[in-house]
């Protein structure tokens, strides 16, 4: 299986789009080498601005550029952009409904060795709570490409999380990202495992573990966290009667919380949530960290068995 960071797909598609359209502009806070926005910089230096290590200014400037009719990508690490420039994202981008795409890499615990300050576990929570904001987390490099292509034709604020770590490539190159649509990765009837990003792969692995124990697990790639595919979530709840969510994010306020917000109102169903349990991360190799913080396939499989016991 190919292993590619989702940031690569973003950077590559941005170049392809830059060749097709002259209204795409990229603004960076000096991390374009790491976010892969530098692929665009090399091809289109006149449409690329590195504003230095100044995330607030990056977002404000992106908004001003968008008001001249540009589709503006603002890019940095998730932790710096969403935390440092939150006020600008809330007001300049979202309250003004500016056509700014915030694409940030280095989210989740798989950031690894840089440790707690760099590992962003909060971005889903604080981005999805903003009115007018759409939130996307691609499962692999192909989906990152397709989502990048989608967002230039979608007017309005978008936050997309990409990864530093190489993620298994689970989709085909010609698969099309469907905004707001949960994607079934594996059919099953006993429990639904809903994953975000890398946790979709871990969920598929968990389904294999469960299969050996006679449990038939469905796996969903919930690449769009906002707006949520409520119909698909309710269908999964009705058809399997139990849900596990898995994400490289705090359980508080994250994707699992979003799923629970829908199901508790529309079709109350037992849910177990796999994610970061109200702590910060630490230095370590990504696989070691995933194990230590209980974000592996075995943890998802355990959660599945637990939630199945809670079925009515």
């Amino acid at each position: 299986m190919d292993m590619i960071p989702t940031r690569d797909g973003f950077g590559q598609e941005l170049v392809a789009l830059g060749k097709e359209r002259d209204d795409i502009v990229v603004v960076s806070a000096d991390l374009e080498d790491a976010t892969r926005a530098e692929y665009f910089k090399k091809e289109f230096p006149d449409r690329f601005f590195n504003l230095g290590i100044a995330e607030q200014d990056v977002i404000g400037t992106a908004v001003g550029l968008s008001m001249q009719g540009y589709v503006v990508f603002a890019s940095s690490f998730a932790v710096f952009m969403t935390n440092r420039a939150y006020d600008q994202i809330r007001i300049d981008v979202c309250q003004n409904n500016a056509n700014v795409k915030i694409v940030c890499s280095h989210a989740g615990i798989t950031v690894g060795e840089d440790g707690a300050t760099a590992q962003c576990f909060e971005d889903f929570a604080i981005m999805r709570v903003l009115a007018n904001m759409s939130v996307v987390c691609p499962v692999d490099t192909n989906e990152a490409k397709s989502a990048t292509r989608w967002m230039v034709d979608h007017y309005g604020p978008v936050y997309m999380r990409t990864s530093r770590a190489a993620f298994p490539v689970l989709t085909k190159e010609d698969d099309v990202f469907e905004f707001g649509k949960a994607r079934i990765m594996r059919e099953g009837k006993d429990v639904t495992l809903i994953g975000s990003g890398l946790m979709v792969y871990e969920s598929l692995q968990a389904a294999e573990i469960l299969k050996k124990e006679g449990i038939d697990a469905r796996v969903i790639n919930l690449h769009t966290l906002k707006p949520l595919d409520e119909d698909a979530l309710v269908a999964c709840a009705k058809e399997t009667g139990a849900i596990v969510t898995a994400e490289e994010h705090q359980i508080i306020g994250g994707m699992g919380s979003a799923v629970a917000e829908v199901l508790s109102q529309k079709y109350p169903t037992p849910i177990e949530m796999v994610g970061i349990k109200d702590v910060y991360g630490e230095t370590g190799d990504p696989q070691g960290l995933l194990k230590k913080y209980h974000l592996k396939d075995v943890d998802i499989a355990e959660a599945a068995k637990k939630v199945i016991k809670r079925k009515k």
């Binding site: 601005f49 001003g64 540009y70 006020d87 007001i91």
Partner: protein, 273 residues
């Protein structure tokens, strides 16, 4: 750049009318920010009544000069000015801060002529820079102006934007600081001093002009200089008086965010006659 013809006396009369309007809308809303609105009147008049290319009947005209009102709490001054210059009917001013109104408490794009929702300080200059970069890329001649409060520039983000404008040589950006020397809880110099302010901007690579911000001749002269300066942005430090024109509102933080009652309104209006 050749100076346009201007009837300064007429603009001075406009200033009196706008001050009355500010007091009336804040009184009618029973809340709002009169102090920093009254200090900004001549600045706004020099822009809308003289310098800026704009079409009130076509607020989204693509070649218009842009003004970002980054001190979003100066909404009474902004709305009264926009209404005076024909962006919307004066009758609408009484809806300021009321449920269902376009005239939101802090400046909002629902209002014709407003470019950006603001109200959290220190945001506007970055957006103005972005507009100016966009203008350069699109080979447009319009200018981006940004009105900021003096307390506002205590925000670090202002200085990020100040670096950007200078680094990218944005000579189509003009910042104006309404330097009324007072913020919500007292004197700027007591709370978090800005001096030496002109030197700060100069050291950030800006052309700096200091003027009496209530003297329309000085403001007009400074604005005419903007556009002749090439290769760097310009800031006008407009020395103003908080609460200007109303004796009991001048030079105090008490009227930063407080509305005059009917009796106080009457007294204030009589001072403007």
């Amino acid at each position: 750049m050749s100076a346009k013809k201007v009837d300064v006396k007429a603009l001075q009369k406009t200033a009196i009318e706008l001050r009355k309007g500010i007091l009336q809308v804040v009184n009618s809303a029973k809340s709002g920010h009169p102090g920093g609105s009254l200090s900004a009147v001549e600045i706004l008049i020099s822009l809308y009544g003289y310098k800026m290319n704009h079409k009130p009947e076509d607020p989204n005209w693509e070649d218009r000069d842009r003004l970002i009102i980054s001190k979003g709490h100066a909404s009474p001054a902004a709305y009264v000015t926009l209404s005076h210059f024909g962006y919307f009917p004066k009758e609408e001013l009484v809806t300021f801060r009321k449920l269902g109104a376009r005239l939101q408490g802090h400046v909002h794009r629902k209002v014709p002529g407003v470019e950006l929702n603001t109200g959290s300080l220190g945001h506007g200059l970055s957006v103005a820079n972005g507009m100016a970069l966009g203008a350069r890329m699109r080979k447009k001649d319009f200018k981006a102006y940004c009105l900021m409060g003096d307390g506002e520039i205590q925000e670090g983000s202002v200085w990020e934007a100040a670096m950007t404008a200078a680094h990218f040589k944005l000579d189509n950006v003009c910042a104006i600081v309404d330097y009324n020397k007072i913020q919500e809880n007292g004197l700027i110099s007591d709370i978090m001093g800005l001096e030496p302010l002109a030197e700060k901007w100069k050291s950030f690579g800006w052309e700096v002009v200091s003027v009496d911000g209530h003297n329309l001749d000085e403001l007009i002269k400074a604005l005419d200089r903007f556009g002749t300066i090439k290769g760097k942005p310009m800031v006008i430090i407009a020395n103003t008086v908080k609460g200007k024109g109303i004796s009991f509102m001048e030079n105090t933080c008490k009227w930063h965010g407080k509305a005059p009652n009917d009796e106080q309104l009457k007294e204030a209006l009589s001072e403007l006659e």
